[in-house]
């Protein structure tokens, strides 16, 4: 069945675009047998053909004009690997309007404009696939839309940013502080010269927006995702975490709470026994709990030209199969619910708090009293005499509502005996 040849145009021939091209070339024969057609890149657009890339493209296939690729009537599928929203959004929408299916690895685009793009694709019965937008080559979008579609997904907890996971792994194993670990990550090419999007949790929030919208069948508006970065985490927190039986990870968390969903990205204490605790360096992993399947974890390389290229090619094969069967659009957008996002103030978790206080009798009791008045119940406390004149106190609370913890800490920080509330990290038990 199927046509001999399906033609592909690539917009943005950087790392991922070139990676996808390379994978298509390497395994062309088996890909053709699986897809039912040869998949051939016939044209690629990039604004700069002189920068180095993992693989070269024949001169005659290159252009600097993306619109030319989109308008080419011979091309069936557009791959968008430009990144960002400008001009990627315009290109993707034009491609759909031109009746072409689209494969993209652009997390920011789908997180911010997924609704518009998916509605456009659905209206025209076209495929828009984006497996590479989350977790690099780890299959996670397809499993959520297909193999796990019979479940009510109860939670998603992901380590979806390799840069921060590398930094936290270095801090935990080498005792480095944040600034040094970041510098090392930059030197190794794991962190950008401007690392803000990674370390402040923006990148993870994009990925959570995408995962949550599929898992919970409801749009996850980016501006409603709470985000907090890892720069506040200091070496003593790493030591206390270990002592208490935890590791510290930047987690992207989505939880179905019945009346609402929680959507949040922040560093968290995670039990050392949790499957995600062993995920180190630049690796990513996503832990899912489903009503029927129970707990599942997907683990692998969350970035890179070839892993993300693998995801793009997997999508291309699926789109080709659909084209060959006249079945594009067979998995439409599944955001058929509209679930409210619980405000962060109302989220309930345990909390770890580290503070510096005066080393005087009665201080601990005074602080504990504030927690009590605000309704924050305490699970454990450790007091150590610090090197100087003061003392360090580490508290772990029972499940407490965020608002009460915040209010406690504001009051505690204002006490004359308290020099500093140094760190405050949520504790996730699973």
């Amino acid at each position: 069945m199927g046509r001999d040849l399906i033609r592909i145009g690539i917009l943005g021939f950087g790392n991922v675009g070139a990676g996808a091209y390379q994978v298509l070339q390497e395994n062309a024969e088996s890909i053709a047998l699986k897809a039912g057609s040869r998949l051939e890149v016939t044209r690629a657009a990039d604004i700069d053909w002189r920068r180095p890339r993992p693989v070269d493209l024949p001169q005659e296939m290159r252009t600097t004009d993306a619109r030319e690729v989109i308008a080419d009537p011979a091309i069936d599928i557009i791959v968008e690997t430009i990144g960002g929203t400008e001009p990627a959004l315009e290109f993707v929408l034009s491609a759909l309007r031109a009746g072409k299916c689209v494969v993209t690895s652009n997390k920011e685009l789908i997180a911010k404009h997924g609704r518009e793009i998916l509605e456009q694709a659905d209206a025209r019965g076209l495929d828009i696939y984006f497996e590479g937008a989350v977790g690099g080559g780890i299959p996670i979008i397809q499993p959520l839309k297909q193999a796990l579609a019979g479940n009510r997904i109860q939670s998603i907890v992901g380590i979806v940013n390799g840069t921060t996971n590398y930094i936290l792994t270095q801090m935990a194993s080498g005792g480095q502080d944040f600034a040094h670990a970041l510098a090392e990550a930059q030197q190794k090419g794991y962190a950008e010269p401007d690392p803000t999007d990674d370390i402040e949790g923006n990148d993870a929030a994009y990925k959570l927006a995408i995962l949550a919208s599929i898992a919970f069948n409801s749009r996850a508006p980016l501006e409603q995702i709470y985000r907090e970065g890892i720069s506040r985490i200091a070496p003593p927190d790493m030591l206390y975490a270990r002592e208490l039986g935890y590791v510290i990870k930047l987690l992207a968390i989505g939880r179905d709470r019945g009346d609402a969903v929680e959507l949040r990205v922040h560093p968290a204490f995670l039990p050392q026994t949790h499957p995600l605790a062993a995920v180190s360096d630049v690796f990513n992993a996503i832990f899912i709990e489903g009503s029927a399947v129970g707990g599942l974890m997907f683990y692998g390389r969350g970035a890179g030209a070839r892993p993300t290229g693998s995801a793009v090619v997997g999508d291309l094969i699926e789109v080709a199969r659909n084209l060959n069967r006249g079945a594009t659009g067979r998995i439409p957008c599944t955001c058929f619910e509209a679930r409210p996002v619980r405000p962060m103030d109302e989220v309930v978790t345990k909390h770890y708090v580290r503070m510096q206080v005066a080393d005087r009798p009665g201080v601990l009791a005074k602080i504990a009293a504030v927690f009590g008045e605000e309704g924050v119940s305490l699970a454990s406390v450790v007091q150590k005499t610090a090197s100087g004149e003061g003392a360090e106190i580490v508290w772990v609370t029972h499940q407490s509502v965020e608002r009460a913890v915040r209010r406690s800490l504001e009051r505690i920080a204002a006490l004359p005996e308290v020099n500093e509330v140094s760190t405050w990290v949520r504790v996730e038990e699973g």
Copy 2:
């Protein structure tokens, strides 16, 4: 789009059949929105309606005659959850002949008769899906056929049998011997009264046959899969493994060696740092290396009514989408290569060997000489005086061909100074 209603008949209303029914009932509304049609079980066949099951079925839907369900013209999809090959094979082939798509969780059936069944389905343009046959609810068949289809798969290493993983976990953590750990597993319902299929590696071999045939695009004939059970593993092996930096797991291993594939199920030493090493109790996990994606791991519950039911329902949703788009058979069988299986004698791995010898000068040298003569290079040796009059020697070899190791051990066992070659376990580094 799509029809209002897609009707399902279930053959074998045991644990998995009832689990799938339960999942379909619980999430009927969202499943209908995802599939494009309501999915309704209208008839189920079982030979014994009196045994207890997780959920009950209305009287009027029950029958004891599978053929009646298969012949029902209103039914679109047949779910086969009987298990075994007789009469499941006949039923599945009849269903396909009657033009119905089939979803099954029957590993033995697909491992033994996959070729015949898939050819039958392909010839008629029908779907035959079997996600639940491997790894319970863990999505692994779909990812291999779809998201990872652009890769050349280099290896599959799986912990795919929960019973043996539970036993080995108990032996490693509690110091129990095999017989006690097995008895405990039976008492907890994790092992069958006759545990042979699990502990001898047959169950794992079925799953490997299925995974390998998809990963390597080539039939994996069951009779060519080497298998060896875990009953020889003794408490001292667990201790040595830990000392040397390993854990012992029953692994299902498929490796692409270029000219041939390796297919084998046996206990193995696995580095404590390998992602699979942390997979304990009844959990399953599958580690895959792909040419583009690198290393990936899929982890979760490998058995049980609801996890396997989750996989069956995921398949049903996919089949329903295909029915609604006239696209059944869109992912045909991908065994388009015919790759030889490397004979076990020619497989190259490291080896761990534990033996009891006379505690006399020159014994170690004499044994080492035999290894040397057979071309087996040694990586490490530990000699300990045993409680009685003898000594215990533990060897770890460098990469060595299996034939040479076997020959060495035959010769060593015949030495007058050697009382016993106690255990011999392959070492997998990744």
